[in-house]
């Protein structure tokens, strides 16, 4: 691992260098909340902010002398690799023909060698011209969450080519958390606070400088052009003690030693009913969670009239985030498999803390605490898990 340090102000050189080749996505204040959005440069980063997070509360406060003293807000980077809504394909339908215009690169290949006289479906490849993403300020939990999404979208039965192309082209500049949010519990599930891998560059904000750890050659080349110094042993010791401190200050934990069995044996626990009496089934927890991936596809129609030239029907098929809390999520003809909120909360938490392990080999929770902060009634996954033990 290459470790260098740079004067704090000089971090902007890295931004300036990358801003022509990448679309920079990072933290920015919007309506008193730190969101993730396209940022123009280094100075958009909310310098000197901390926040107080509680069950169902979030307040930004000024008063630190650090760049990165805030922790995670409601947004997660999943919105950029797996957008809230996106087109899967556009279609036109006439009487005897469905034409699909795919926005998916790989799908073009299947028709390459085919007999065009037999071809009823035409697939047009659309290349997106926008710049690749540079994700700035990703925390250890967010990087861990992205690796979980990789398991879903890249390592399953099919590869999501859209996700894949964004994922492969994006650069990740992570930031080690030194001040845990009040709802964070990454350290108890080993997803943070220190970023150990999965980054192109990881930043630690020391007292006087930024310590930069270089993960990939794409960033290494650039570092050679910048006014950097080698990091000393003292710098590394400073980082280690700051991170140890962060761990020590983390207020919440979950005990993973009994998972997934604890959930399996608690599926009929009376606590689920108690939670259901508070839960609004609003789905906020699933929207803010960086690993929740459930989605639905539906057709968005344009009625183009009936003329000889214009097809009868055209539109796009859209895939958008959905939530296991939605009323119709498990509905089939003749009924709904999970009509009660009790069952829907149980499904969500059981998925996060146990089913994931069987499905993808690790917990579906990275301990970011977002679901606790953004639950309007303050339901706290760590506390509910504790109760299930009793």
């Amino acid at each position: 691992m290459i470790r260098v340090k740079i004067k704090k102000e000089q971090l902007k050189l890295i931004f300036n260098r990358l801003k022509t080749s990448h679309k920079i996505i990072g933290p920015k204040i919007n309506n008193d909340v730190i969101v993730l959005t396209e940022i123009a440069d280094f100075y958009d980063i909310p310098f000197g902010y901390r926040e107080q997070q509680g069950k169902g509360t979030y307040r930004l406060t000024k008063g630190s002398s650090q760049f990165f003293s805030f922790s995670v807000g409601p947004d997660s980077f999943k919105r950029f690799v797996n957008p809230p809504a996106r087109e899967i394909f556009a279609f036109k339908k006439s009487k005897k023909r469905i034409s699909i215009m795919s926005s998916n690169k790989s799908s073009a290949m299947s028709n390459e060698k085919s007999d065009s006289s037999q071809l009823a479906m035409v697939r047009v490849v659309q290349h997106s011209s926008s710049l690749p993403f540079l994700f700035v300020g990703m925390r250890a939990c967010d990087i861990a969450a992205l690796r979980l999404l990789d398991k879903v979208f890249l390592e399953g039965h099919v590869k999501d080519t859209f996700y894949d192309s964004i994922r492969r082209s994006s650069l990740i500049i992570g930031v080690n958390c030194l001040y845990p949010g009040d709802n964070c519990f990454c350290s108890s599930i080993n997803t943070g606070p220190e970023i150990k891998d999965g980054f192109d560059m990881a930043i630690t904000e020391l007292d006087k400088s930024f310590l930069l750890e270089i993960g990939t050659p794409s960033v290494r080349e650039m570092i050679d052009e910048l006014p950097v110094e080698n990091a000393s042993n003292e710098d590394i010791a400073e980082k280690d003690s700051l991170i140890a401190n962060c761990k020590k200050n983390m207020k919440k934990t979950i005990d993973i030693s009994e998972l997934p069995w604890l959930i399996y044996k608690s599926l009929e626990h009376p606590r689920w009913t108690d939670i259901a009496n508070r839960c609004l089934a609003c789905g906020n927890c699933t929207q803010v969670c960086p690993t929740c991936f459930c989605n639905s596809s539906y057709d968005y129609l344009q009625l183009s009239g009936i003329s000889k030239k214009i097809p009868e029907l055209s539109g796009t098929r859209i895939r958008s985030w959905d939530s296991c809390f939605s009323t119709n999520f498990a509905r089939v003809h003749g009924g709904n498999f999970r009509p009660s909120r009790r069952a829907r909360y149980r499904q969500w938490m059981s998925h996060k803390l146990s089913y994931w392990i069987e499905q993808f080999g690790s917990l579906g929770c990275v301990g970011c605490g977002r679901c606790i902060t953004w639950c309007p009634v303050g339901i706290d996954i760590t506390q509910e898990l504790e109760v299930l033990k009793k």
């Binding site: 998916n104 085919s114 009823a120 399953g156 999501d160 498990a330 498999f337 089913y355 069987e358």
Partner: protein
């Protein structure tokens, strides 16, 4: 391989009405390259797509050995209603095949009992035809021909019985036992009347040598499994096909989750013992 997130075109070759609400469609994949690459196993399903209306998961009711891909569809809602309005020559979108299949290797040297309720016979017809047509054509499925083979099928009334005209042919290779919940006074009916579980008393089978393939309403399957196990059939030898809401068909949308399983990719066919812990749990 072609992209299973994007539907391909298939044309309806012929249509056969089975009952008042259920119809069999034979479809042909139009793109030759996809036609060549498309291969399925009995028990798998396709997502059928009508632009502007939506998609529905539908089992393949023909066998791989058949010349056509067939779907047997009961009208349940939007997509299936619109399919019921299509004619020969019309084009539908198809994604697939998806899901697990009936484990044919399990029935080598063993007896097979097929148990179906209602439209649940559709995915099992694929196995039935695989064995039947295979036997007639002396194709590879011959290796599964040694054991005894039984079909138990239950429908609401004789009029709701799907493939009723085909059962005489099935008798070439299977012992067939049919039952209806209610016999219809106007219909000539010489099968049983009563729940499908009752049929178990009429069949003679060796529980320790029998493999069960079952598909039907969940409550039916639950009581059937109980009866079978009481008679000594090991849970490891019972395979059931499950139904859940489906949207993607390939494990990325979350709709079909059943405990830790994705019905679309880990199922729809499950070994009973792999899911038994979740079967009785309400609203899982």
């Amino acid at each position: 391989m072609y992209d299973k997130t994007i539907p391909f075109d298939a044309a309806i070759r012929w249509i056969k009405k089975e009952t008042r609400d259920t119809t069999t469609y034979a479809i042909k994949i139009i793109n030759r390259e996809i036609q060549r690459l498309y291969a399925f196993k009995p028990g798998q399903f396709n997502m059928l797509y009508l632009p502007g209306i939506g998609e529905a998961p539908i089992s393949i009711s023909s066998a791989p050995i058949d010349n056509e891909i067939m779907h047997t569809i009961r009208i349940a809602g939007d997509v299936t209603t619109h399919i019921s309005r299509l004619n020969t020559g019309d084009v539908i979108g198809v994604r697939g095949p998806f899901g697990s299949s009936w484990p044919l290797e399990e029935i080598e040297d063993r007896d097979l009992m097929i148990i179906a309720g209602g439209v649940g016979i559709a995915p099992l017809r694929s196995v039935i035809r695989h064995l039947l047509v295979g036997k007639r054509r002396k194709k590879s499925s011959i290796q599964y021909q040694t054991g005894k083979k039984i079909i138990l099928y239950g429908a609401k009334t004789p009029k709701d019985m799907i493939f009723r005209d085909e059962f005489p042919r099935y008798m070439d290779a299977f012992e067939v036992f049919l039952t209806v919940d209610k016999a219809d006074p106007e219909e000539y009916w010489r099968g049983e009347v009563g729940l499908i579980t009752g049929l178990l008393n009429k069949v003679s089978f060796n529980p320790l040598n029998t493999v069960v393939f079952m598909c039907g309403p969940e409550v039916m399957m639950q009581s059937m499994v109980r009866e079978l196990m009481l008679r000594g059939v090991p849970g490891e030898k019972i395979f059931i096909s499950m139904e859940r809401n489906m949207n993607c068909g390939m494990g990325i949308c979350g709709h079909c989750m059943f405990g830790p399983k994705f019905v679309c990719k880990d199922g729809p066919v499950f070994r009973f013992t792999d899911i038994e812990g979740f079967l009785g749990i309400k609203e899982i």
